[in-house]
């Protein structure tokens, strides 16, 4: 594997040259690590999608009934918001690569704001449901059929876990904003921003599947 030798020697040379306390730089390795982390997220949500599949099979009529409570318009708007935020994320990195730091920062800010918008919509969605008495453990929900209870259990768990990941994404991207300002991310050293972008696209991907499975069952 000559590719391994070529890519390894600079790493080993860098290691030999530096004292053990300095962490050597390996962008390729960092990207591998990030993708491996993304696989853990894939399997984490994958488990939930497996449960969704099992229960949709068991309770297909109840799922159709329960899904009527969901607001397709908000769901669609949120989908568009996340897709756009993926665009601004990718553009932010592209701008940085081309030494357009200010543009990159604007695009990163746009991504964060879109993420906020998503969460605001989510907040209104959820509180509207709470006010209709639809939440785990409520009298109204417990009175419904098993399939409907399970549907909403899945809805809150899956969109809730996804929302948590959006929040974490907002925090991560804010850190990246600061890193760009402080020049620990530069046009020749931006693996942190790239890896954050990978995370953000994953959050978008999860929603791409959540959206039809919850909002488009008619």
């Amino acid at each position: 594997m000559s590719e391994a030798i070529q890519s390894n020697i600079p790493e080993q040379a860098a290691q030999s040259a530096s004292h053990a306390q300095h962490v050597h730089r390996d962008d390729f390795g960092a990207k591998i690590g990030m993708w491996l982390f993304l696989f853990t997220e894939l399997l984490l949500f994958g488990g939930l999608f497996i449960i969704y599949m099992a229960y949709r099979q068991e309770y297909s009529d109840a799922f159709h009934l329960a899904a009527k409570e969901l607001n397709m318009t908000i769901g669609t708007i949120n989908t568009i918001i996340l897709l756009t935020s993926s665009l601004t994320m990718a553009l932010s990195i592209a701008a940085l690569q081309r030494y357009k730091i200010t543009l990159s920062l604007y695009l990163l800010t746009a991504t964060i704001l879109l993420a906020f918008g998503f969460m605001v919509n989510k907040y209104f969605e959820w509180t509207a449901k709470f006010s209709h008495g639809i939440y785990p453990g409520s009298e109204e929900l417990t009175a419904k059929s098993s399939g409907e209870i399970v549907f909403f259990g899945l809805y809150y768990t899956m969109t809730g876990l996804h929302g948590l990941h959006v929040l974490i994404g907002i925090v991560i991207l804010s850190f990246m904003f600061v890193f760009i300002l402080r020049k620990s991310i530069t046009p020749t050293n931006y693996i942190k921003l790239e890896n954050s972008g990978l995370y953000w696209h994953l959050v978008d991907l999860i929603w791409i599947f959540l959206f039809p499975l919850f909002y488009l069952i008619h």
């Binding site: 391994a4 390894n8 488990g47 768990t157």
Partner: protein, 542 residues
């Protein structure tokens, strides 16, 4: 090849002065060797706690009524015994202790790809362990669900479930980060000339294991989260009263927990592939077959999980498919055993302690593996599921398998890690006690199970008494052997003779650096020109 340290002017990693001193130089260290040792210390402590619980459980089973504890306490005992042994000893196991210490050295690197993440893994391990212990003393009392925390009982029980589950979640993260680190390290930090097919087989094993750690662990992560959410909010995903399906829980649980047993055994098999060439003075037979079989086990291991669920109410189609796949996964394991035995054939055998542990392993693991086929076959499974037969089976493979090799690894790499030698005679006596005690204790359980003794029962019918007595006696012999083994190693640590660089004549890279190694392992990174098990004996024979 390798580094020839001229005299003792090198500084070993214990003496290297960094930013911190004392305890902090350990718990804030990003040196993979210190992290490996800290894991080892933690694991030995947790093993002794788990062993004590097991000892007390066997004591309780001496009589059919209460012997020393009541039924509720007994339930907590077997739950904790399982949680500690599985999540705090065997899953971190060989990768955390010996993988951390030796992976970089065996591939000719100075450390892992992400040293700080490695330290975080250890911190998460400690936090998870402490949280699990802490949960014992909270209101509600210690968890009593069994380590498998099946629903609906885990949702209903008033004992403390959320905190130990949270601990397990944190431990899962620790495992994931280690896996992530090892995969990246193998891809990025191999020394010049070390192609994938010049890596030691231990590295192949660690690599395959690391993939399982990354891909399978998140599934139990989400399962844990869902049980916690169910207990807190009653979402209805697993609670049958609300429409949930308990069998679905079992699926999600075992989708991780079956691959988890391959996390346990693959590294052990990797160690066996290291020890046998060294003590047979021959290169390994069928290097590529063993390497690929590690990948095959990791891969097929994902597809057999529901053999834990044959009596749960699954469809007939599922039962058929999973039984078939279970028989398939035995094949690559068989390949390994055949290749190991072939390596020994006509070798120059030196029956040192590590090799004796490996011999014990081959015997015990074979019994464990073969009884797995009894469990994997649908008709016989109905008869022995949830009996002592299962308990005997998994102790043969996990204890007689992985743990025995963990002890083998300890005896093999002890001189390298600590720079000291232990007393070989005492070590052999300890092994004999362990072997005799183990078989006395656990073989009787196969018979008990076949005769119908259910597992996790605090009490039993009078007809099982004689075998329980024999099994408990076996546990005393076993514990005596284990304590002697640890005592012997401790004495070696404190008073043992200084160990040379290569006491066993091993040919992998760790035997080319001093005992113990210096901080960055190598003065200069070596360039690799040949396969790993290059023994001169064969050259002399030829």
């Amino acid at each position: 090849m390798g580094n020839h340290v001229l005299d003792s002017t090198y500084i070993d990693f214990y003496k290297e002065k960094g930013k911190y001193s004392g305890l902090f130089s350990w718990i804030f260290s990003t040196d993979h060797k210190r992290i490996g040792i800290m894991y080892l210390i933690g694991m030995v402590i947790f093993f002794l706690v788990g062993m004590t619980l097991g000892f007390l459980m066997k004591l309780e089973m001496l009589t059919k009524g209460q012997t020393i504890v009541d039924a509720q306490t007994y339930n907590a005992f077997f739950t904790l015994h399982g949680i500690i042994m599985i999540f705090l000893f065997i899953i971190p196991g060989i990768p955390a202790a010996f993988g951390n210490f030796f992976l970089p050295i065996q591939i000719g690197a100075k450390d892992v790809a992400f040293p700080r993440l490695n330290l975080l893994s250890w911190w998460l391990y400690i936090i998870g362990g402490l949280l699990a212990i802490f949960s014992l003393f909270l209101a509600g009392g210690p968890i009593d669900t069994g380590w498998t925390f099946y629903v609906p009982y885990s949702i209903r029980t008033t004992t403390n479930v959320i905190i130990p589950l949270l601990a397990a979640f944190i431990l899962g993260f620790s495992s994931i980060l280690t896996g992530l680190n090892f995969v990246t390290t193998v891809h990025r930090l191999r020394a010049p000339g070390m192609t994938f097919f010049k890596m030691p087989l231990f590295i192949w094993a660690l690599y395959s294991t690391a993939w399982i750690q990354v891909v399978a662990t998140p599934v139990v992560g989400i399962t844990i989260v869902l049980v916690i959410v169910e207990r807190l909010f009653g979402v209805g995903l697993f609670d049958p009263a609300l429409g949930g399906d308990p069998v679905l829980f079992q699926h999600l649980f075992w989708i991780y927990s079956h691959p988890a047993v391959y996390i346990m055994i693959l590294p052990a098999m990797g160690v066996v592939s290291e020890i046998i060439p060294t003590f047979a003075k021959r290169t390994i037979f069928g290097y590529k077959a063993i390497a690929f079989s590690s990948l095959a086990i990791a891969f097929i291991g994902y597809f057999v999980w529901a053999h834990h669920m044959f009596t749960s109410g699954m469809s007939e189609a599922a039962r058929f498919v999973f039984s078939l796949l279970t028989f398939l996964v035995a094949i690559p394991s068989g390949v390994k055993v055949f290749n190991w035995v072939a390596t020994l054939y006509k070798g120059s055998i030196y029956p040192a302690v590590p090799l004796l542990y490996v011999m014990a392993f081959i015997f015990l693991f074979s019994i464990g593996g073969l009884t797995g086929l009894v469990l994997g076959s649908l008709a016989t499974n109905i008869h022995v599921h949830d009996t002592y037969f299962v308990v005997a089976h998994f102790h043969y493979v996990m204890f007689g398998g992985t743990a025995m090799i963990l002890f083998a690894a300890l005896h093999y790499w002890f001189p390298k890690m600590f720079g000291k030698m232990y007393n070989e005679k005492t070590a052999k006596v300890a092994l004999a006690l362990i072997f005799i005690g183990f078989n006395t204790m656990y073989f009787t359980m196969f018979i008990l199970g076949y005769q119908g003794m259910p597992r996790r029962y605090w009490s039993y019918l009078p007809e099982y008494t004689a075998l329980h007595h024999i099994s408990t006696l076996g546990s005393w012999i076993l514990v005596a052997g284990l304590l002697l083994m640890f005592y012997n190693l401790l004495m070696g640590l404190l008073k043992g003779e200084k160990a040379p660089m290569n006491p066993w004549g091993g040919t992998t890279l760790e035997w080319t650096v001093p005992s113990p190694p210096p901080l960055e392992n190598f003065e200069t990174i070596p360039t690799i020109t040949h396969e790993p098990y290059h023994h001169t004996y064969e050259e002399e024979k030829a």
